[in-house]
Each structure stands twice: as C-alpha cells, then as structure tokens.
C-alpha cells in the first residue's frame, strides 16, 4: 500500500500538481486502500497544524517582511559595508554578512534571497556580472534556515517531538552557518582576485566603523535579544518569534522610520500567505505519514537498511546520499514531513544522537534548495535577475560544494559540530 501511495504522490507531482494536493491525493488513495474512512483526512489535517511550536513560522516570516520594508536590512548592509572596507570582492562579502544578519532574525531561505536580491542584485550585477551575483545571493539565502531561527528546524523539531530540543537544534545551526559564510567569503575573495573584479567601497576607517556601528546598535541587538532569549530559556521559539516581529515593527516605525502604518497589513498578509503555503503541505502530508506508519514502512525500511549495514556512520552516509538526490527533485518541507517520521526513529536505533542526525538531515535538505533541477532558490533568482537558470547554475556550483562540504563535516565530526549545544548544557 505504501508503494502505491508513494507512486501516486510522485506521479501527481511530476504531472504538475501542487505538492500539497499531491500529498492529499496520495493520502486519500491510502485511506481508501486501507479500508479506513476517508473523512479521517480532515481530522488528520487539523491535528497536523494544531501545534504551538509551528506558530513560530509566521512570526519569523513577519519579522523578515518588516525588516525589509522597515529599512532594517539596509542598515545591516551599511554596517557590513563599513566593516568590510575596500577589499577584493567587498560587495560579495557585504552580501554574505548582510545575509547572516538577516538570517539571524528571519528563518527562510526564499524570503532572505528575495530580500537580498531586491537590495543587492543590481549593484552586484553591475560590478561582478549578473550570474555571479545571482548565484551568490541564492547561496547566501540558504544561510536563512541554517542560522537560528530556522523554519526548517521548527518543522523538524515539531515532527520529532519532545525528544529533540529546538533551542539545542538552533544552537547547533550556528557553527555550520558561520563556517559556510566564512568559506563563501574566502571563495568570493579568490574569485574576485582571479577574475579581476574591481575594488569597490571605501577603505576601512575605525571612526566610520564606530559611528555606523553605534547607529546600527538597535538593529544589531535584535538577533541578540531574540536568539539569546530563546536559547537562554527566557521564552519559547514561538514567543521569540512574536518578540522578533514586534521588535522589528518598532524599529521600522520609530528608529529607521521607513515603515509606514499602511505597510503593516501588507506585511501581515504576506507572512500569512507564505506560512499558509508551508502549513497546507504539512496538513496534507500528515495522512501520507499516517498510512506509512500503519503499513509498517518504517520497520520495513529499517530491516532493509540494517541488512545493508550496522555501522551508524555508514547509515548516515546512506541517508546523506539519499537526501542529496531527494533534495534535487523535492520541495524541502514535503521531504521533512514525509521522511523525518521514518528515519529519525531509525537513527535512534542506530545509536545516533537525535541532534546529530537532525543537523545532518536538515543541512542536506537545505543545500538541496540550491541544487538543480528543482532548486527553489535558483527559481527565485531567475525571477529577480531575469537570467536563465543554466546561467546561474554555472556559477552556483562552488557554493553547493562548500555547503555540502560543511554538511559532510557535520556528518563525520559530530563532536566539533555539536560542541556549542553541549557547551550550552544540552
């Protein structure tokens, strides 16, 4: 029965049906085949989204919207510009650092890439060429769900349940995000030297840095308060999201003064629609995962994989390879909802720490948002830059290699990558 459900899902997806509805139809077929009442679909959908942790998603989406419209992103870009000074590829470094800043409040790659693209695509395109700029922005957008807060991590932790701490997962995302950003800065620097990109910006001046830094202080405090509050246990991720939204609103209205009252409903609606697209997938996918569980698919897969290897590292490598392929073709939320309930318990049976498995799983699927043919970030940048997808793909490979490299680092060296959560007492 599970195989029929999976076939219905993949065939309907390939034929162009929305992923949410492909899940819905597959679940419907599964219920019908198993002889269960098909009206169960409604209650499964409702229970899937009746979750307090999921509420964090619209809040961080809203915070991202308010940051863009309120000119907070522009403040972060100016600060990054002053910090970088006049070095090779400076505009690229500014993009990456601004992306890190945005990622520390927003939690989604698509929103971050769209925000950065709106502000930086034109100057990057004029200075370094549009394909280079578009690929860089797409790759930088990927920092959004890696650095906390992260929508992907919220979805993963909600599916797994209380055995995985969301704040611990958030902390585990810090090192990979900083490492990826650092390696991307190295790559941009050497690419700029090699290709002879022009020197841009003003030389670093401590006075200017202090002046802009002081002016940017309230903006820089935003992630400190929100992430610090979540990790310090002052408030939950959901409450932290609401605080981030309110803080961004106040900054936009009273500090940068670029946010108009008439912008607020638009930001609210955009956040609502963007969230709805994700949560409708979660709602419809719940029936498919239910069918898989009553059909004992997790047990079957576990037996199959256990017959292939009993080594936890080999198991992780198999999962990594599988997710690399899945990430090329599948939207990541769908992959979480469908695969986490199957593989997370299996990882536990292999003796893999839930936090380690979660980090490798999430990082691999996040990089999948950048890999062709179905890399959603590539599509976002096609829309913003007007380039063909093949032009961006040519420039995006180094970033994919960097991000997969860091993912493999997390796979093979858990003691290093889980050092921060351990240090925080998780």
């Amino acid at each position: 029965m599970s195989s029929v459900v999976a076939i219905v899902f993949f065939v309907t997806c390939i034929l162009g049906l929305s992923i949410a509805f492909a899940f819905g139809l597959a679940g419907l077929v599964g219920l019908w085949m198993s002889g269960l009442p098909v009206e169960m679909l409604a209650s499964k959908m409702m229970f899937a989204v009746n979750s307090f942790p999921l509420l964090a998603i619209p809040f961080f989406m809203l915070a991202g919207e308010l940051m863009v419209r309120g000119g907070i992103v522009a403040v972060a870009i100016e600060f990054a510009n002053t910090l970088i000074g006049r070095v090779r590829g400076s505009l690229g470094h500014v993009t990456i650092l601004s992306g890190l800043g945005l990622a520390s409040v927003s939690g989604t790659a698509v929103a971050d890439a769209a925000a950065l693209g709106g502000a930086l695509m034109k100057p990057l395109g004029n200075s370094y060429g549009r394909p280079f700029g578009a690929a860089l922005i797409a790759a930088t957008g990927n920092l959004g769900p890696i650095l906390p807060p992260s929508t992907a991590m919220i979805v993963y932790a909600t599916i797994v349940g209380p055995e995985l701490s969301l704040p611990a997962l958030f902390i585990a995302g810090v090192l990979p995000a900083v490492l990826i950003a650092g390696l991307m800065i190295f790559y941009v620097y050497f690419a700029a030297r090699w290709r002879g990109f022009p020197l841009l910006g003003n030389p670093f001046s401590f006075g200017e840095f202090a002046r802009v830094g002081f002016r940017s202080l309230p903006v820089l405090m935003l992630p400190v308060i929100v992430i610090g509050g979540i990790m310090g246990g002052v408030f939950t991720a959901t409450e932290g999201g609401a605080i981030a939204a309110v803080f961004s609103l106040l900054l936009g209205l009273f500090y940068t003064r670029q946010l108009k009252l008439s912008d607020i409903p638009v930001c609210l609606l955009h956040a609502g629609l963007a969230t709805g697209v994700v949560t409708v997938i979660i709602a419809f996918a719940s029936t498919v995962t239910f069918i898989f569980s009553i059909d004992h698919l997790p047990l079957l897969l576990r037996t199959t994989i256990e017959s292939m290897t009993s080594d936890p590292t080999m198991f992780l490598i198999l999962i990594f390879l599988m997710l690399v392929v899945i990430g090329m073709f599948m939207e990541s939320t769908a992959a979480y909802v469908m695969l986490v309930p199957i593989f997370a318990p299996m990882a536990l049976a292999y003796g893999i720490e839930p936090l380690h498995f979660a980090l490798v799983f999430i990082l691999t699927l996040i990089v999948g948002m950048l890999t062709p043919p179905v890399g959603v970030l590539l599509f976002v940048m096609v829309g913003i830059s007007g380039l063909k997808i093949s032009q961006i793909v040519k420039e995006v490979w180094p970033y994919i290699l960097i991000q997969f490299g860091v993912t493999l680092g997390a796979l093979f060296f858990p003691s290093i990558f889980l050092f921060l959560p351990k240090l925080a007492g998780y």
Binding site: T12, C13, I14, L15, G16, L17, S18, I19, A20, F21, G24, L25, L28, V38, E39, M40, L41, A42, S43, M45, M46, V49, N50, S51, F52, L54, L55, P58, F59, L62, V234, F235, T238, E239, G241, A242, I243, A245, V246, S262, P265, V266, L268, L269, H270, A271, G272, L273, T275, G276, V277, T279, V280, I281, A283, F329, E331, P373, V374, V376
Partner: protein, 166 residues
C-alpha cells in the same frame, strides 16, 4: 463570476491579515504579561492555535486563486501546447474530488465535536474544523473556475495582496 470570486478572496485576505495580527498581539502580550506583571494569559495558547489553524485553511483557497502553492511544472511545461489544458484539467478535477472529501470530513468532525467545549475559550472544539470546511469548500469553487479556464494562475502574491488590504 470573477467579481464574486475576487470579492470573497479579498474578504479572506482581510481575515488572514487579522488572524496574523491576533497571533502576534496575543503571544507578545502573554510574554510581556509573564515577565512584566507576573501573570500569563490563560487563553493565549488555545486562542493562538485556533487563529493559526484558521489562517492555514483560509490561505488554502487563496493559494489556488493566486497560484501560490508550490508545484514542479517541468514536465507539463515540456508538453506540446495542445495537451497542457487537458493535463491541467485532469489534475484540477482530482483536487476537486479531494476538496469535496475534505469538506465532507470537516462537516462530520464539526457534528462530532459540537458539544466538546474548549478549556479556556467559551466555544466548542468544532471551531477548529470550521475553517477547514470553509477553506475546502471555497477551494472547490475556485477549482471549478480553473476547470473552466483550463490553465493555471500565474503567481501574483504582491500586486493583488497589496491591493486587497489597502
């Protein structure tokens, strides 16, 4: 027909906007109340989950009418122009059946939960299912319109939404 569809969609957009606003205000007020005044809002958890569920399922038909739902269209785009409307119509018809089942299931759940009161709000648990019934029913109406049109809607999340709330 288009005018009616658009009018109801605008009402749904206003509802989604208000629901997000309720979510932010309730959760932020709860945090401020807890740390500022040592008191929590008892209903914060239940009300915010309720608003979230309403927002999710009211967004579902808007996703159809505004082309927001994520889909992989590589194969349909590669098909000859003449076949595309028919493939699209088959898909839409299948989703129409799905929405009818969801709507029916919601009505069944509404009937079953009508007498089960929530802990902190003076309403029944059936209120969790009303948005699912409304959202799936309105999605079905939009799907009929798409079935007639025979082609998908282009994604229009910016212009239309700004127009709707301004």
């Amino acid at each position: 027909m288009t005018r009616v569809l658009d009018a109801v969609d605008r009402a749904l957009m206003v509802a989604v906007t208000l629901l997000i606003a309720i979510l932010v205000v309730v959760i932020a007020a709860d945090v401020v109340g807890r740390y500022g005044f040592g008191k929590s809002l008892l209903f914060a958890n239940e009300l915010s989950r309720m608003a979230f569920i309403w927002m999710t399922f009211l967004t579902m038909p808007l996703g159809i009418s505004r082309g927001l739902h994520v889909a992989v269209t590589t194969v349909p785009d590669a098909l000859p122009e003449a076949y595309r409307p028919w493939l699209y119509r088959i898909g839409v018809a299948a989703v129409f059946v799905l929405m009818c089942v969801v709507c029916w299931g919601s009505v069944v759940s509404i009937k079953a939960r009508s007498f089960e009161m929530l802990n902190t709000l003076p309403i029944s648990a059936a209120w969790y299912y009303y948005p699912l019934a409304a959202g799936s029913a309105w999605s079905a109406v939009h799907l009929v319109a798409r079935l007639i049109a025979g082609k998908p809607v282009e994604r229009t999340d910016n212009g239309l939404t700004e127009q709707a709330v301004s």
